[in-house]
Symmetry: C2
Subunit: 194 residues, 2 copies
């Protein structure tokens, strides 16, 4: 077996999102890759951010946030949001911002998909905190709709890998989930008859 040990500080491929929080009365956005759905019902999502980020202060102000999915054409703006802190740089005019149900979670008009969330808990860890929110509404740009759902290929989301620090776009559709594996399952069922 040819395995090499890489140590412990290793990463998995990440979706690229923009975390939006209103701080000191202004919209602020940070690039966020440490993000995942957490609970099915109610629909919870979590964002793991450094405790010293400006967004960490801000989340306590309105207790609302947004998770926005940028398309590849927003790669520079997205990366910029990860390069500069809202503490020194006003990022409120980088995108056209709109507000939804909560009235305080800044949503990005240019992003095909935006999730609006209400903070439900903060899970503390040594260097980061997990901001846990309930998704209260989601906004899909009408140019990206297909069968009443997001047209993922058209959305063309970005992914990030580390430590190579590369952004990737979406590849090809290579199969259906909860489906392509049935072939192996059928094999089993059939074996009962052999």
């Amino acid at each position: 077996m040819g395995k090499i040990k890489l140590g412990s500080n290793v990463f998995i491929p990440m979706p690229v999102t923009l975390l939006g929080i209103k701080i000191d009365g202004k919209a602020n956005f940070m690039a966020l890759g440490w993000v995942s759905r957490l609970n099915a019902s109610p629909p919870l999502i979590g964002a793991a951010i450094n405790k010293y980020h400006y967004s960490s202060e801000g989340i306590r102000e309105n207790e609302t946030f947004s998770i926005n999915i940028p398309s590849e054409n927003l790669i520079k703006e997205t990366d910029y949001c990860g390069l500069v802190s809202g503490r020194e740089t006003d990022k409120s005019t980088l995108f056209n911002v709109f507000y939804g149900e909560t009235g305080s979670a800044p949503l990005i008009e240019e992003c095909p998909l935006s999730l609006e969330c209400k903070l439900v808990d903060i899970y503390e860890m040594p260097s980061n905190e997990l901001i846990i929110g309930e998704i209260v509404e989601t906004y899909l740009d009408k140019d990206y709709i297909k069968d009443d759902a997001p047209d993922v290929k058209k959305m063309n989301p970005l992914f990030l890998t580390m430590p190579d620090n590369n952004y990737w776009n979406l590849g090809e559709n290579v199969g259906k989930a909860w489906d392509v594996g049935k072939e192996l399952k059928l094999g089993e069922d059939e074996s009962e008859y052999v």
Copy 2:
């Protein structure tokens, strides 16, 4: 502004991984998309799984688990792990399994990258629980190494989108993180001199 409301149970693009846990003395694997790094130092990772999954019982047995990144060529086996429960089906022989530091977290030889984790906490939610582990070691197949790190293009990880339930492979490298946005930053710095 042309935005359509999609409701609250909406998903973001997910990395496709396999969660490995030894249960009742046997390796078991489930397909996992709700996964993210959580803390920088120490390196923590979280997996949000349904409380009624067999893996949820199993994690309490040895308090270790693995996160494995399958390549596109393992799409059927990966999907199969999401189709059948270890409660009814023995998935221990689906892959060649090896063990590392912990001696109990089953690692998949066929996956280019495997993270071995020790459970540090379980965060309870209404329908799911977040299994939080510290990464203790990572194993990279030597055929996928480039500059002492994973060769991501060669690894060719999968992504899952819902509700369309499609698997996608990795697209093209479209830019460097913490770099492509500098152009916008430079613009600002320059503006000081205008």
